[in-house]
């Protein structure tokens, strides 16, 4: 018999925090990494269902951070 799987928590994107720390706006980031503001907003507001490695790499290169700095697991 299989035990019922507990509902996992969620992955939060800390894009807002990183932008504040670096004194950068979403528009500036959009221009530098070549990702539309619409997509960055989706990411920032936690409405994205998935993120491409290439997107993650471009953000990390521009924000000079590690993927772990950008993403955080929020347990229940």
């Amino acid at each position: 018999m299989t035990a019922a799987l507990a509902q996992p928590g969620e992955i939060a994107v800390r894009l807002d925090d990183l932008l504040t720390e670096r004194g950068m706006t979403l528009t500036e980031l959009s221009d530098r990494v070549g990702i539309t503001i619409v997509n960055l907003s989706i990411l920032k507001n936690g409405r994205a269902r998935a993120i491409r490695f290439s997107t993650l790499a471009r953000l990390c290169a521009e924000l000079q951070c590690q993927p772990g700095d950008l993403l955080r697991y929020t347990g229940r």
Binding site: I42, L43, R47, A48, R49, A50, T55
Partner: protein, 216 residues
């Protein structure tokens, strides 16, 4: 919308549109012809001659009806060209109605199918192909193809039998309304199965599409 998106529903959109316009034109011409007296629509119109063909029966020669044990009712004509045809040059209202029912059900099913195809194409054009709406409309189309084809065949066979009974003295070879079903069943059944299967695939694709849309 991009050019690629528009081509997604082609050639179905164009073909369905062509047949839709053709059906409307034929119907309009038939109605106008019947009204002004230059033709007939179904069994109606001043020049309407009502005919019926004996189903599921073949005749080897062109030798005449007395030898075949078939005779026409008063006012009806018979001829044989492999199968037996019976016509009423001056049909009664009942004969006209039965004659109309030998063709109208198929035309109605065709019209319904074309309308549903048009709605399906429109939904796919407007919302994209991988949506619940497209899947639902595809399922509906499948059921209409299957049930419509079966219902039309039964009604038309019954109407043909009833018409022949008014044209032939002995009601030989009229057959029952369900005897033609096995012959017409395979294609609608296959189309029904294909449409329901593709509707399932689209329903599954909807979830995948949502994931793709939500990927940054």
């Amino acid at each position: 919308m991009t050019t690629t998106d528009r081509k997604l529903t082609e050639p179905l959109g164009t073909v369905a549109g062509f047949f839709g316009v053709l059906l409307l034109l034929i119907t309009a011409l038939g109605v106008v012809g019947a009204l002004i007296g230059f033709g007939s629509f179904g069994g109606f119109g001043r020049q309407a001659i009502v005919c019926a063909t004996q189903p599921n029966t073949g005749y080897g020669g062109s030798d005449w009806t007395a030898h075949l044990g078939v005779a026409a009712q008063h006012g009806a004509n018979l001829w044989i060209d492999g199968t037996l045809h019976a016509c009423a040059p001056h049909p009664s209202v009942y004969q006209r109605l039965m004659y109309t029912f030998t063709g109208a059900p198929t035309a109605l099913v065709w019209a319904a199918i074309l309308f549903l195809v048009w709605r399906l194409v429109r939904a796919a054009d407007r919302q994209g192909p991988f949506t619940q709406l497209v899947a639902t409309r595809m399922r509906l189309l499948g059921w209409v193809v299957l049930l419509g084809a079966l219902a039309a065949t039964v009604v038309q066979s019954a109407a043909n039998a009833a018409l022949l009974n008014t044209l032939l003295k002995d009601q030989t070879g009229v057959g029952d309304a369900f005897s033609t079903l096995p012959r017409i069943l395979p294609v609608p059944l296959l189309v029904w199965a294909a449409l329901l299967t593709f509707a399932r695939i689209i329903r599954l694709g909807t979830a995948m599409d949502e994931d793709i849309q939500g990927t940054v």
